[in-house]
């Protein structure tokens, strides 16, 4: 089999990232809608902007952050490069470039998904409908993932797809935890209203798993530990990091790549941050700091991979 053109590796890596990003964004909007159900103008919609560091950009062109303006900013707005519509458009453009390397079914689905997003209007995003739209987006992302799982040839392109996907997923889990933790914990790490726990866990499809692990009750730090470290939970950061490690290993053992020290250093640093960072008593302040460190380490692995494999030199 011919070698993979570096630019296509890049396209596939970002295809994986963008699809995962769109799904997570839909999850976050969905959870926020649940939190804010009865107060469409409350502070909750500003929080989501803070989470993505978009507040300033958002308020430049708009007067206030409420359910309607924020959800359309993150779902429909093609001028906002972080919106679901933009992510899927980018995913599709990347997929178009590597159309010959992915399966027809993957391409067809992303194409249909993209077309259906193009039909959405602001009316479709009314608060009582937002959850349904988010569910639809999630389902389309998951369908794509299922199609990839069942049809994508397990060659080198698949490795880069998985690397993109798991790096993005790890990053998104940290964001979700970052946003949710303030609600489930007070300043000293003690528990707040349990409704928020279940919302946070349900948003990552982790509620039942968590309940079966902690049947007798639990603390906010148990939830943080679960989302960060439970290697049986598919969205846990530790599991994502393991997958990244395995795919990097596979590039060497199965696809004839030599080891890149820069990538290996970044990966070790990420693993080290993850395993040593959190400590025993988890307070919101400490968690935020830890999550910042993790996000930097994840970003570094991503840029080292791009530099070593995916930038044509």
């Amino acid at each position: 089999m011919a070698s993979l053109v570096a630019r296509f590796g890049w396209n596939i890596f970002w295809l994986g990232r963008y699809m995962e990003r769109a799904e997570s964004l839909a999850r976050i909007l969905d959870i926020n809608e649940t939190y804010a159900r009865d107060k469409p103008e409350g502070p909750d919609w500003l929080r989501i902007l803070d989470l993505y560091a978009d507040t300033e950009r958002f308020l430049e062109a708009r007067e206030k952050a409420d359910a309607a303006s924020v959800s359309s900013f993150y779902v429909l707005d093609r001028d906002n490069f972080t919106s679901v519509a933009s992510s899927i458009a980018s995913a599709r453009e990347n997929a178009r470039s590597v159309r010959h390397l992915i399966s027809t079914e993957m391409w067809t689905h992303i194409n249909m998904f993209h077309n259906s997003l193009g039909e959405l209007t602001h009316r479709d995003l009314r608060l009582n409908n937002l959850s349904r739209v988010c569910t639809g987006i999630k389902t389309d992302c998951q369908t794509f993932e299922g199609i990839a799982e069942g049809t994508f040839f397990r060659g080198e392109p698949w490795c880069f797809y998985q690397l993109g996907k798991y790096l993005e997923r790890a990053d998104q889990t940290t964001r979700l935890l970052d946003m949710g933790y303030d609600r489930i914990s007070d300043h000293d790490g003690e528990a707040r209203g349990s409704i928020h726990w279940s919302v946070l866990l349900r948003s990552v499809a982790g509620y039942h798993a968590f309940r079966s692990l902690y049947p007798a009750g639990s603390s906010p730090s148990d939830i943080a530990t679960f989302l960060l470290y439970d290697r049986e939970f598919p969205r846990a950061v530790a599991l994502c990091v393991d997958r990244v490690t395995a795919r990097l290993h596979e590039l060497e053992t199965r696809h004839g790549h030599s080891r890149h020290k820069s990538v290996e250093d970044a990966r070790r640093s990420l693993a080290f941050t993850l395993e040593t960072g959190l400590g025993q008593r988890v307070t919101p302040t400490r968690l935020h700091k830890f999550i910042d460190d993790l996000q930097v380490a994840l970003g570094n692995v991503s840029s080292q991979i791009c530099e070593a494999y995916l930038t044509a030199r």
Partner: protein
């Protein structure tokens, strides 16, 4: 899955009445040769006519809609040059196939092979000895002053003397049913992906229509192309790396480039993915540089190499042409083939075939007036309203004026252009193109069609059975180009 709630069907869908004798019963092809009925019925289409007779128009319509949706979901696209934004335009697909008899195919197959052989010998001659000029077969300045002539190709012969590896020959059929060559496409003929996709679509939407019919397969194209390109690899390279060079995702035919890459199992690259070092061409891979031996380039001559041709090209690869001349990489098609498919040179093709092959042409030309010659110009000016006048060196039907359909103003405009630059034009009588039954709304109506068979040449020439049938979807229109509102049909060769 759609994110929008499904609209309720309002129940207003009209039921069309099944006619006795099926949907073809009201069909009238008038004075034209019909691909389904000939002048008074064709024996090789009996089977499909019987199958069609058992369907009603609503079934056809319904299944056509399914096929259209599939095309839309696949994102099969064709860019219209005048509308840069519409990159997702779907080439309309008509569900009633065009059927060729074994005898039709014998003529086309041998005729195209003959023509491609002559084109290759002609190209080798004009870029080297130039005997064809010395023997007075064609005026030298017509070829060597042609804008598609590449002096950079002089005194060089590509492997096996093959210049035109991929050729698309546009054929039409006159009112007697004779095949005539309308033009040769020896540069970068496109459309082959539609031939194969149309067949897949047809077999999914109408598996019953082909029942009991012996059809020649079209799935072999990718393998045949790889094999032809492997044969023309640089000397000493037995297991060449073949790559497809595309201008990129915004090119009109990008869907086809992807299709070819998949069918051939070859990497699809852009100029930025290739680099030339010491007259060898390398591809930038995730493992570093790897040598490429054969390039099926879908980039025009002018944009191939900014060092050799247009210096402003962003699509090309600096140094590619030098590597080509050194014999370290083979380009398909060769550089400079445009001189052989020029509309002005076309007029001389019957004589060129006789000259090199000592054979009568199997496929005739449409009679052509060459306006660069005083006699041809006079004939054209005298009969402008009866002739089809074409600028030479334009692709895709741009600038073609069909006399009988043109307004007074268009004719006056053309007359002025002709007088100002006669050498830029040829003219031909209007050929009453054959028609094929085509689903229009709820009816089946005759629409004009042409045919582009695809020929692959390495050591020898192989022609893909059938070819692309293009159909002018507008009533009475003779313009079949997809860039001008044409559609396509599946083309069946009965084996």
């Amino acid at each position: 899955m759609s994110l929008k709630p499904k609209k309720k069907n309002n129940g207003s869908r009209a039921k069309s009445q099944a006619r006795p004798g099926g949907p073809l019963s009201g069909y009238d092809h008038g004075e034209f040769f019909c691909e389904m009925f000939g002048r008074n019925g064709l024996s090789h289409t009996r089977n499909i006519r019987e199958q069609l007779a058992m369907m009603d128009a609503a079934t056809l319509r319904h299944r056509a809609k399914d096929a259209e949706r599939e095309l839309f979901n696949l994102g099969i696209t064709f860019t219209v040059y005048s509308d840069r934004d519409a990159i997702d335009r779907i080439l309309p697909f008509d569900v009633i196939p065009r059927v060729l008899s074994p005898k039709d195919w014998e003529t086309i197959n041998t005729g195209v092979q003959q023509r491609v052989a002559a084109l290759n010998l002609f190209l080798k001659d004009v870029y080297n000895a130039g005997k064809v000029f010395k023997d007075g077969i064609i005026p030298e300045e017509l070829v060597r002053k042609n804008k598609h002539y590449r002096p950079e190709m002089e005194d060089f012969v590509p492997p096996l003397g093959t210049y035109v590896h991929i050729c698309g020959t546009d054929l039409v059929r006159d009112e007697k049913g004779r095949f005539l060559v309308l033009e040769d496409n020896a540069r970068i003929p496109s459309g082959v992906s539609y031939v194969i996709e149309n067949r897949h679509l047809m077999m999914r939407a109408f598996p019953d229509l082909a029942e009991g019919v012996q059809l020649k397969e079209v799935d072999d194209y990718g393998r045949q192309l790889t094999s032809a390109l492997t044969q023309v690899a640089p000397k000493g390279v037995t297991d060449p790396t073949v790559a497809i060079l595309s201008p990129g995702v915004y090119n009109a035919a990008y869907f086809e480039h992807v299709f070819l890459a998949r069918e051939m199992g070859s990497p699809l690259v852009e100029g930025q993915d290739l680099v030339v070092e010491k007259d060898r061409v390398y591809m930038r891979t995730t493992r570093g540089l790897e040598q490429v031996h054969v390039i099926y380039r879908r980039v025009d001559d002018a944009f191939l190499d900014p060092k050799a041709f247009r210096p402003d090209s962003m699509l090309g690869v600096p140094g590619l042409f030098a590597a080509y001349r050194k014999g370290n990489v083979t380009l398909a098609n060769a550089v400079g083939t445009g001189v052989s498919d020029d509309k002005a040179v076309y007029a001389y093709m019957p004589r060129i075939i006789k000259y090199y092959l000592d054979q009568e042409p199997i496929l005739s030309n449409v009679p052509t007036n060459i306006c660069r010659e005083p006699e041809g110009l006079q004939k054209t000016l005298d009969n402008l309203e009866n002739l089809v006048t074409k600028p030479v060196g334009e692709a895709g039907g741009y600038g073609v004026v069909v006399g009988p359909k043109a307004t007074k103003r268009e004719l006056a405009d053309l007359r002025r252009k002709l007088k100002a630059d006669p050498a830029n034009f040829i003219s031909q009588p209007v050929v009453n193109l054959s028609v094929s039954p085509t689903l229009i709304g709820r009816n089946i109506e005759p629409r004009h069609v042409d045919l582009r068979p695809f020929a692959l040449t390495g050591r020898s020439t192989w022609v893909l059975p059938g070819g692309l049938t293009r159909v002018a979807m507008k009533r009475g229109s003779l313009v079949v180009n997809s860039s001008q509102g044409g559609g396509s049909k599946d083309t069946w060769v009965i084996g």
